[in-house]
Each structure stands twice: as structure tokens, then as C-alpha cells.
């Protein structure tokens, strides 16, 4: 057991380059969204991009809360000294939720999103637009129930995210085990709710863009995507903070653990992706294969790029033990995985909205940059409010002496 002399009151200062760059990124985002809305023909594409990034933003933040809950329920010691980073992400969740709900509501209202099940006459037998399949699903897929589900699920996630963050603040002030035992209890409740509702959340937000098609694997496929992208985000934030001179207590064993997580869940993502693809490919039923037909016809490049970035890159680069322990390699892989999951969401969302009129230009890049800036700004602001270490966490010593 070594002795450590770390400053437990160390606080992140959100100023200078990080702040200016994130504000610039937000402005670029606003500019490109405004450009998208200036041309009527680009509305749908802009909405699809907004949905993509708002969904990505919300998923990364809610998986931050999920990370906290998993650590509490597993009574994990190694992570005690890095919990402030996922806490900052969890604290940002309400902002992400508001943005996602606004995008979804405007998309529904303007018929730019979800028009496969939300268009005039789809459920009216006398109309020329009548669609029997959609009519059959309309008990579940109707605007009030749909929006209600979104609001209820996302509010529950936000509630627990804020609660876990609050309890950690109380722990800093009061000490003792009271906050820890409460965190454990609420984490258990949260995990059960989260596990059952995230698949439905993914069905609603993304799968219902192509309402005729369905896949029961889709929820877990999305869960794997959001979880691995959140882990990569946590690793990126920690590595960049270390490079800026903060969080010197994080050693390469912590990095190794995060690397194992990212490696493992990249494989899990591929496993779920392949399970969905394999069954549809093998059964070869027209109503199911239409999903992959579209992606193969119009999105072949993205389809394969998705697998290269989210499977081959992390597997080959993180297989080696030494690579997981090196900051720069981890940073590179995490950025590849984060871009990879943008590609993943891109080829989930685009074929159901803009069909074959997809593109990759100012709107895509600008919206992504804008949301990255917004994420950086909000998360770093939340991070700067509290010390970077939970000094009264009961497992703190274990985490500081973590050695693999």
C-alpha cells in the first residue's frame, strides 16, 4: 500500500481554450442547422441529423448514469476515484432530454420524422393512404402515447441521474456510509427500470422511423451502442483531463479497466448486431430483409464502415494488454469508437427518414460538431462545480491503490 499526497479538493476550471472551442463548435452547429432550415428541400435531412445527435447526446448521458449505477451495485472499488466524470455526464442528462423531446415533437408536428406511422389518413380505412399494418400498431404508435412514453422514461432516467449525483455531493459534505447505502439502493431500482425501458425507448425513438419493420434485438443493439459510446466518452474525458494536469491519481490500471470495458462491449455490440443481421439474413423473409436491403443498396459504404470502426478497430487495437494501458492509443481508439457509433446511428436513422437522398456534408458534420460542443460545454460546466474526486467514498483507498 503506497501513501498518496493528492489534493482531494482539486477542482476543474472551465476556462480558456476548452471553453472557447466548445462555444465555437456550438456556433458552427447552430449555423449549419440554420443552413439546413433555409432550404425547404433539406428540412427532412436536417431533422434526421438533429434526431441522430440529440439521441446520441441523451444516450451518452443516460449511460453515464447507468455507469454510476453499475459501479454502485457491483460495489466496485476501482472506479471510486473517477466517478465525478460520469456524474457530470449524468447531471447533463436533463438538458439532453429537453433537446431530444423538442426535436422529436417538432419532427412529429412538421411530419419530418416518424412519417411512416404519423401521417394523415394512415389509420383511416376510408382514406387512400390507409395502411393496415400501421393501423394495427396504432394502439402503441400514436402521438400522445409515444410522447408520453418518451417523457416518462427520460424523466425517470433524469431523476435517478440527478439523485445519484446529489447523493455523492452529500457524501462529500457529511461523510459516513449513509449516502453510499442510499446510492446502492437507488442504483438497484434504477438498473431494473433502465434494463426494461431502454429497449422500448430505442424501439420508439429509432426503430419506429421504419414502422413496418421490427426486430426484437433492436433494443439491445442500441443499448450496446449507447453503453460502449458512453464508456469511450468517459475514457476520453479522463485522458484529456490527465493531459491537462488534473486527476493525477488515475493510473494506467484504471485506464486498463476502461479499455477492457470498451473492448468487451465493442464485441458485445458486434455480437448483438450480428445476431440481428444473421437471423434476418438466414430466414430471408421480405418484411424483415427490407431493412438490410435498403442499407445494402443505398448505404453500402456506411454499412461496412460501421463494422470496421466499431468492431475491427477496437478489437485489433485493444486486444493487447499494453495498448489498453497507454493514454494515446486509448484516446485514439475511443475517438474511433465514438465516430463509429455516429456512423452506426447514421445508418440506423437515415434510411428511415431521407431514404436514398442521404448525404454527408455541411449539415451532417456541422450538426455533429455543434452537439459535441454542446456536450463538452455542459459536461465540463457540470464537472467544474464539484471537486474532481469523491473524497468520502468508502472505496476511495482501493481505487487510489488500484493495480492490475
Amino acid at each position: 500500500m503506497g501513501t498518496h499526497n493528492y489534493n482531494f479538493n482539486e477542482q476543474f476550471e472551465f476556462t480558456g481554450k476548452a471553453k472557447n472551442l466548445s462555444i465555437a463548435a456550438i456556433l458552427i452547429g447552430i449555423g449549419s442547422i440554420a443552413y439546413g432550415f433555409s432550404d425547404h428541400g433539406l428540412h427532412e435531412r436536417t431533422f434526421a441529423n438533429l434526431l441522430l445527435m440529440a439521441y446520441y447526446f441523451a444516450c451518452v448521458c443516460m449511460s453515464g448514469a447507468f455507469f454510476l449505477a453499475v459501479q454502485f451495485v457491483a460495489q466496485a472499488g476501482w472506479s471510486a476515484s473517477i466517478l465525478r466524470v460520469p456524474q457530470a455526464m449524468a447531471k447533463t442528462l436533463p438538458i439532453a432530454v429537453v433537446i431530444l423531446i423538442v426535436v422529436i415533437s417538432l419532427g412529429l408536428y412538421t411530419h419530418n420524422l416518424y412519417h411512416h406511422w404519423n401521417a394523415p389518413g394512415l389509420t383511416d380505412p376510408s382514406s387512400g393512404n390507409y395502411d393496415k399494418l400501421i393501423d394495427g400498431k396504432s394502439a402503441f404508435l400514436n402521438v400522445p402515447f409515444f410522447l408520453g412514453r418518451q417523457v416518462v422514461f427520460l424523466s425517470i432516467y433524469s431523476f435517478f441521474a440527478i439523485l445519484l449525483s446529489k447523493l455523492s455531493t452529500n457524501e462529500d459534505l457529511e461523510g459516513g456510509l449513509n449516502s453510499y447505502t442510499k446510492s446502492f439502493k437507488y442504483s438497484c431500482i434504477f438498473l431494473v427500470i433502465y434494463g426494461f425501458t431502454t429497449p422500448i425507448f430505442a424501439f420508439d425513438t429509432v426503430m419506429s422511423l421504419e414502422a413496418h419493420w421490427f426486430s426484437t434485438m433492436f433494443g439491445w443493439y442500441n443499448f450496446a451502442a449507447m453503453w460502449v459510446s458512453s464508456l469511450a466518452t468517459i475514457a476520453v474525458i479522463i485522458i484529456l483531463l490527465r493531459k491537462a494536469g488534473y486527476m493525477q491519481w488515475v493510473n494506467n490500471s484504471h485506464l486498463h479497466n476502461l479499455g477492457q470495458f470498451i473492448f468487451g462491449f465493442s464485441i458485445f455490440w458486434t455480437y448483438v448486431w450480428f445476431a440481428q443481421f444473421m437471423l434476418i439474413y438466414y430466414a430471408n423473409m421480405p418484411e424483415e430483409t427490407v431493412y438490410f436491403y435498403k442499407r445494402f443498396e443505398f448505404y453500402k459504404f456506411w454499412f461496412f464502415l460501421n463494422l470496421v470502426m466499431n468492431f475491427l478497430a477496437p478489437v485489433l487495437l485493444l486486444m493487447d494488454r499494453d495498448n489498453k494501458r497507454q493514454e494515446n492509443i486509448m484516446l485514439g481508439v475511443c475517438i474511433i469508437v465514438l465516430c463509429g457509433h455516429w456512423v452506426d446511428y447514421y445508418q440506423m436513422i437515415m434510411p428511415g427518414t431521407v431514404e436514398s437522398h442521404n448525404g454527408f456534408g455541411i449539415i451532417e458534420i456541422g450538426t455533429a460538431i455543434g452537439f459535441v460542443g454542446l456536450f463538452t460545454f455542459t459536461v465540463l460546466s457540470a464537472l467544474s462545480k464539484k471537486p474532481l474526486i469523491a473524497k468520502n467514498h468508502p472505496f476511495l483507498q482501493e481505487s487510489l491503490n488500484h493495480h492490475l
Binding site: 450480428f274 443481421f277 444473421m278 439474413y281 438466414y282 430471408n284 494488454r321 493495480h403
Partner: protein
Amino acid sequence: MSNIKYILGSFGDPDEMMHGIEKLQENNIKIHDVYTPMPIHGIEAKLGVKRSRLDILAFFCGITGTVSAFALIYLTSVVDWRHNIGGKPAFALPDFIPIMFEVTILFCAFGLVGSYYASTHLFPGRAPRVMDLRATDDRFIIAVDAQENGDHSKIDGLLKEAGAIEVKHNERKYISYE
């Protein structure tokens, strides 16, 4: 030359044992091996144990499995006896992947279990080789090769000084050939 083969220092506490390792190393006495009932952090670095090559073995066992599975499926269902399954081509790679994946894991697991048995001389039906039976229970054992290190009383003294409960002079390397 005495016929003592190994000197075993038996410790009741892992920290005292680590201290014993340091003492012996300070006096340039080569340690044959250390046996503990549980894993101890940092002991590999202290003893200078070389990094395990288990991962490399695992990789090659796994890749053998992948290649074997691919060869098996390819030779049976593409070369030797083509079937029409759902109108798909005979060489449909996605169908191969689950089997290749499973056989990779199977070969990897078998290879690692085999290498474990080989490296520990532990085979079903064979008495295990143990230098001190209590190393599997509650004692931490430092073994020193008595033939290589001449001054036995000095080794005894160092081990006792570090807190060894008992020091044994064994004439046989392993006690459980029976």
C-alpha cells in the same frame, strides 16, 4: 555436500513473507519459488517473474479453431456436398461465422486447460506435486534451492528474522509423490 535439496521458510503472514523475500534478495540468495494460498499483489514484480505468454498461446489456439472450423464447413458444404439451403449460395460466409466463433472458443479453452495441466504437472488421477501442503491452506512458503546456495544457517537465520514460523530442510523436492 549435504543431501538437503530445498529449504522452505513457512510464514503465517503475507507481509512478513514479502519482507523475507526482500531479506533474501538483499543477501543475493536466489529464490527458487514462492507458494501462497492466495494471489498477492506485486509479488511477480518483486520476484522478477517473466510475463506470462498465456495470451499468445490463447491466440494461436483460437486461430487454429477458426481455421479448423472454416476448413471443416468449407470442405463439407462447399467442396464435397453442396446443399441448397433457402436458395443461398453454397459458400455463404455469414452462416459460417457462428460455427467458426464457437470452435475458436472451444479450441482456445481446450488449449488453455491443456497448458495448465502441462505446466502444473497436474493430470487427472496423478498425485499433485507439492513442496509444502500447507501452502494450499494457510501458510506462505518461500523455497530456496539448497544445492545452489551453500550457507544454510544464514538462510535459516534470514528467514527466521523475517518472521518465518518454521524452516524446513527437505531432502526431496516434492513431498507428495505418494
